[in-house]
């Protein structure tokens, strides 16, 4: 039972930031596509901007790993 709760906690630690990241990337991607259509030379910058929200899911992933390693 305890292991199941830890697994759920780890899943939530990754899942919720993943949803947030997906939402942010969708917004940035939409705006970025428009920007690149207007100014193709901004492509590189847009790719970097698109990668910014990934911090959330990466840190969520780290938290999940820590939860599993420490408690499971």
């Amino acid at each position: 039972m305890e292991k199941a709760i830890i697994a759920i906690a780890a899943a939530l630690a990754v899942g919720i930031p993943a949803i947030a990241t997906a939402y942010a990337q969708a917004k940035i991607g939409t705006a970025g596509a428009g920007t690149v259509a207007e100014k193709p030379e901004t492509g590189g910058t847009i790719i970097i901007l698109e990668a910014l929200p990934e911090t959330m899911v990466i840190l969520g992933f780290v938290v999940a790993i820590m939860l599993i390693l420490r408690f499971a």
Binding site: E41, G44, T45, I47, I48, A51, L52, E54, T55, I58, L59, F61, V62, I65, M66, L69
Partner: protein
């Protein structure tokens, strides 16, 4: 490294103005930055030169030719020799005259190609429909007439019923010689086979049902309906052959005329640029002045070349920039060949200011290190190494630079792969009993994470140190105080952690506390309350480096999953195929993800500590190479 620049002024008599501009264009080292003198009018013929340049570009694009990189300086110089001594008006006239016949021939060829392609598309569409009636036509008897009609689906049944009624009334037998095919927009094609002589009556009945004859007469005129399919097929064949001839002709014309027109375009581009510069010169009735910035190491050769060519006809003055000019000096970067490809990263930002710091060396050091740490697999590194070597042999300059960057990443990937003990995941361990030199990252997660955070602390603190140095050098008190305060606070936390970890006597805590107080004073003195927020941001920045471990871990696990398909399916085709496919996916993700995140760590975490990208790019007045004019 940012090259020191020199302000160069060239004064001369108006008679030598054109020659001086042409020579400076040839030398290609002067970044023109004019003074506030009166601007001259555009030279006569400049507008027509620009128009002609656009026309030639239009011809080049119509030819579908794009090998701009293949145009050598020699080919442009040979055009220059041919056209030397001509005024812009004469130049325009000569080139227009020589291109007139070619332009007409090309236009007619392209028109024929477009018309043929359009007709071919219509014929193919028509054939698609006729194919559906192939057997209907085949079984047509000579005493019968066949016709196709466009009719709505809802009227089709009514039309057929009306035809049946009409023929029954005349005593003609109706044997179901009708075929309806549904099409788009509720319309379909109705094929009707009727005894000859009844075409008029049939047409009347169908017209009443709002049907339209679909006879394709415009595509194959004068052909009876029964023979139409064959006629269309024949016409398609003829057109396809003609199109192949046109394509071959265009290809030959493109390879023959493309380089000539390209060289002509480059020549005209240079002429237009020279004329524009000429118009922007500071003028007096008998003399001119040309001012600009030149890299210090190019000064000697430039001065010698100008003295040799013009002697006393020009007066040259040069000096180092003054403090008030710093904002207007262009930034020219010069780095050793190993780190120069990493200048590519700065192309996404505005260049560093002249008094700023060129971070290329730091990027060359850290980017492959971080990226390689994330990939961390000898097998993937070896594959990347081969790809990088291939890219380095490419003709494109940017592709070659990317190849050099990937080469560095691949070497670090292999080095980190040895540290983590990974060769295509755990395949190395399974086959060769390979052991990690340091730790297995899929097992020892915490040490790897701690290492990446320490790496982040070092990287961020290096950025802060550069910021301090930049602030001191540019005498910006706020900057160096804020950056040094931030640095000291981070340092105090590291010392504090060390004291805690080493379980030293409590008295040792006074060192980090004193450092913290000093840091806070510097931070508030330099950046105020904003400085404190900046300090919190620095901690966030350091934590962000944990992504190196996280992305590396996910890559290692996916590689192990790929290899485990061999356990599940054994050494079978399915097992090997699945393993290779997952490895391929992981390879792409590892290379893409590691590059992207290593770049982000530089742009956001590292550059944020010192980089002020408000410089002006050094753009020497010279012949533009390749297709760089496209960026204008």
């Amino acid at each position: 490294m940012i090259q020191p620049m020199i302000r160069l002024a060239i004064w001369g008599v108006s008679a030598r103005q054109k020659d001086v501009i042409q020579e400076m264009h040839r030398l290609g080292v002067l970044h023109i930055g004019q003074g506030k003198g009166p601007r001259g009018e555009d030279p006569a013929g400049l507008a027509s030169l620009r128009l002609l340049r656009s026309k030639i570009l239009g011809l080049v694009e119509s030819l579908g030719w794009s090998d701009w990189a293949g145009i050598t300086g020699d080919s442009v110089e040979s055009v220059e020799k041919l056209m030397s001594g001509l005024s812009p008006e004469e130049l325009t006239h000569e080139i227009e005259k020589s291109l007139e016949e070619f332009a007409v021939r090309l236009a007619s060829l392209l028109k024929e190609k477009n018309d043929s392609e359009e007709l071919l598309a219509r014929l193919k569409k028509g054939k698609e429909t006729l194919d559906l009636f192939a057997s209907f036509f085949r079984h047509g008897r000579t005493r019968e007439s066949t016709a196709l009609w466009l009719v709505t689906e809802e009227n089709a049944n009514g039309a057929v019923a009306a035809l049946k009624t009409a023929y029954s009334a005349r005593g003609e037998g109706w044997e179901g010689r009708v075929h309806f095919v549904s099409g788009k927009d509720a319309f379909g094609v109705l094929g009707v086979r009727i005894p000859r002589g009844l075409e008029g009556e049939t047409g009347k009945i169908l017209t009443e049902r709002k049907a339209l004859p679909w006879d394709l007469s415009e595509l194959c005129p004068g052909v009876s309906a029964e023979c139409r399919l064959e006629a269309v097929e024949k016409r398609i064949e003829e057109l396809s052959s003609r199109l192949a001839v046109i394509a071959a002709d265009l290809k030959r014309t493109s390879s023959e005329w493309g380089p000539r027109l390209g060289a002509l375009f480059m020549f005209l581009d240079g002429k237009t640029e020279q004329a524009s510069v000429e118009a922007g010169l500071t003028l007096s009735p008998n003399s001119f002045g040309l001012f600009g910035w030149i890299p210090e190491d190019a000064l000697e050769a430039t001065v010698a070349a100008l003295k040799e060519k013009f002697g006393d006809d020009v007066l040259l003055q040069w000096r180092r920039p003054e403090e008030g000019e710093w904002g207007r000096i262009p930034t020219s970067l010069k780095n050793p060949s190993l780190s120069a490809p990493f200048e590519l990263f700065l192309k996404l930002l505005s260049p560093p200011s002249y008094t700023g710091v060129d971070p290329t060396g730091a990027i060359a050091l850290f980017f492959p290190f971080f990226s390689g740490c994330m990939v961390g697999d000898i097998g993937y590194g070896a594959v990347l190494f081969l790809i990088a070597l291939k890219l380095k042999r490419n003709a494109g300059e940017i592709v070659r630079k990317i190849g050099s960057i990937l080469l560095a990443v691949s070497l670090w990937s292999m080095a980190w792969g040895a540290a983590w003990g990974e060769f295509f995941g755990d395949t190395g361990h399974r086959l060769f009993h390979m052991e990690p030199l340091w730790v297995e990252r899929s097992e020892s997660v915490t040490p790897v994470m701690a290492f990446t955070v320490a790496l982040g602390a070092a990287h961020v603190m290096l950025g802060l140190l550069i910021g301090v140095w930049q602030g001191v050098r540019n005498r910006q008190r706020h900057q160096w105080m804020e950056k040094s305060g931030n640095f000291v606070i981070l340092f105090s936390f590291i010392i504090g952690l060390m004291v805690l970890k080493a379980e030293l006597h409590g008295a040792f805590f006074s060192i980090p506390i004193i450092l913290l107080i000093v840091g806070l004073v510097l931070l508030i003195g330099g950046g105020g309350i904003g400085g404190i927020i900046e300090a919190f941001g620095s901690f966030g920045n350091i934590i962000s480096y944990v992504r190196i471990a996280a992305i590396g871990l996910s890559s290692a696990i996916l590689a192990m999953v790929a290899s485990s398909f061999m356990d599940v399916f054994g050494l079978s085709v399915l097992g090997v195929t699945l393993a290779v496919m997952i490895h391929l996916l992981n390879f792409v993700l590892a290379i893409g993800g590691s590059g992207l995140h290593a770049a982000r760590l530089h742009y956001v975490e590292f550059f944020g500590k010192f980089y002020s990208g408000n410089g002006e790019e050094y753009k020497p007045f010279q012949r533009r190479s390749g297709s760089s004019w496209k960026k204008q």
